[in-house]
Symmetry: C2
Subunit: 339 residues, 2 copies
DNA sequence: CTGAAAGCGCTTACAG
DNA sequence: CTGAAAGCGCTTACAG
């Protein structure tokens, strides 16, 4: 070596090991600076059995909800010199498994996951090996994982209250997938709140997809039991719903009121501006990384779970009074008081 | 080993080396299946000096243009068992350098980059080492890289022709960054086409940012020289422009017509639906990966460059006739014929 | 066709 | 405090 010291000493200096004499330290530092030497991360990884990488597992990074999340994770990772591996699962348990196996093998420092399969055995495998896992949006089954969750139930409740308060009684939820926690919670709280008001919940399964929502809302609008209000359970389905509404020349909120989960930038640009339930995605993602980094540095061993409230952004799409023509339409079956 | 063969033979079988006897091959295969053995990628990387990863370098994955691109890249990578490292540069040459250095050190298989700094020396360093680089959206200076480019000039020309054909003479381009190739090309072709029509191009520098566009369009709408039409050079700036337009209660297309680059899903949901210049992002990204994979497999050595046309999606925002009130407003300075 | 051996470039007990 | 040595787990010339 240029510094005329052993590779061991160089390694110690570069890794901030205390036990190096000032003279040696300086000599090494100078040589490193001059040569622009940087240790080979491949060799380091093999030796230490960990990569300087964070795995991010989401269903689809094209969903702005997740691209915002990934962006926030990446920001935090960058300043610490960590890389980010993106893994799209498309809500497939198989893809999740394949990716998590990879992340295990690659010995990533940690994983942030919005699980498609909360019970995936690989999640426990990571935890077994000491690799921290933070669940995002949706819990995982293994209790050792941290979790950053949005309060889906409260949000669904707020949506119903808002609409019922405006006089609506026939409200359809364009629901997400029931086998996905956020979808299930929004659905469940919607049903409970409707029933608490003596109203019959109506459900359209939109699968969290643009096209399913589009087709479903088309059918609803064409049917004889058209509701007076819609709650749409995520931004993708809102696109499908709005497309169907536009094509059917149905007016919002006069013919049908709308409250939508998620608050993409365009929500206030459509006509009318959308009343939305906004998640603090950036803050949640930053917190997820904070939790992960605490674990990576070994600073905490107790699992932590934080719940973040949605924010109701009241705009015009929910209307301010009962929708015009509510009475004119065939009324829904009489309200029942089932649980 | 369970199969009672040497590690060398196992390695050969797993890597599809021909020169292994059928008996050995079978024996190894069986042991591998039984044990679920998978070679350690860290060790393999150190030995072979390459990682099974693709680097994707973009300015911001939160921009739907890039999240769509990253998604397509990831799809192709997944089926081949490659990982994807996402790198956000925020149009910073420094961040690009830092990330490319990392990608060099990590010995990635290849890089898809929408360069913030097309002249970055690390691009050549990658190429020197034999790591293929595909430029996306924007060229890089090193001629050895492949490139997948959209025809920005033709698109800007089409936007102007469309508006001029509808009778507009006072048209402002909400421009992207001039130091970014796509921004510069759109700007340049806008100016040329305007001048070819004897019209004076007006430019508002929107920096490809929501807020800059917002503030700028606010000023334009409040000013006395308000144009009759706007061309907006990307989807982020369109959000800013629409926000300003909405707040000023300016009607589209009656008071001001609009043509926007990019075609996000919400473009047809705003009122009026947006006339857009859509890039075939998915196709371009898939092609970029194709080019990269050809290089990785050593199947091609000549650099290739493909140019993809935009598609004009004509909707209502561009109007069909001269905007109402064009004559009523103070006219622009007389058209000059400078080139 | 198969195996023994070297080596990728680090880090980290272990001596001194 | 410093260095020599081992070893992370593969792959790949090199022998045979």
């Amino acid at each position: 070596m240029r510094a005329e010291v052993s590779p061991a000493t160089v390694s110690r200096v570069l890794n901030g090991d205390q036990a190096v004499g000032a003279t040696y330290r300086r000599r090494v530092q100078r040589a490193v600076d001059e040569l622009g030497y940087r240790p080979n991360p491949l060799a380091r990884s093999l030796r230490t059995q960990r990569t300087q990488a964070i795995g991010v597992v989401v269903s689809d990074i094209e969903n702005p909800h997740f691209s915002e999340m990934v962006r926030a994770v990446e920001d935090e990772a960058y300043v610490r010199g960590y890389r980010v591996l993106v893994c799209n699962t498309d809500e497939s348990a198989d893809k999740q498994r394949a990716y998590l196996e990879t992340l295990v093998e690659e010995r990533v420092l940690g994983v942030v996951i919005s699980p498609s399969d909360p019970a995936g055995a690989e999640i426990s495998e990571l935890l077994d090996r000491g690799t921290p896992v933070v669940a995002f949006d949706r819990e995982v089954d293994d209790p050792r994982a941290d979790a950053v969750i949005a309060d889906n139930r409260a949000a669904a409740r707020a949506a119903v209250e808002l609409l019922v308060g405006a006089g609506h009684r026939e409200i359809t939820l364009v629901s997400g997938r029931r086998d996905v926690e956020s979808g299930a919670e929004r659905l469940d709280a919607f049903e409970l709140t409707m029933r608490a008001h003596g109203l019959e919940p109506r459900i359209l399964d939109g699968e969290f997809r643009v096209d399913t929502s589009y087709v479903g809302v088309q059918a609803i609008l064409a049917g004889s039991q058209r509701p007076t209000a819609l709650v749409v359970a995520n931004n993708l389905m809102t696109i499908g719903a709005l497309r169907a509404i536009r094509e059917a020349s149905v007016r919002v909120p006069q013919d049908i009121a709308l409250v939508a989960f998620d608050d993409p930038a365009w929500a206030e640009l459509v006509d009318p501006p959308l009343t939305t339930l906004a998640q603090p995605v950036r803050r949640m993602a930053t917190e997820a990384m904070q939790l992960l980094l605490e674990r990576i540095s070994g600073g905490r061993t107790e699992p932590r779970r934080t719940v973040h409230p949605f924010e109701v952004r009241r705009r015009a799409s929910c209307g301010t009074a009962p929708a015009v023509g509510v009475e004119a339409r065939p009324s829904a079956p009489p309200a029942r008081r089932s649980s």
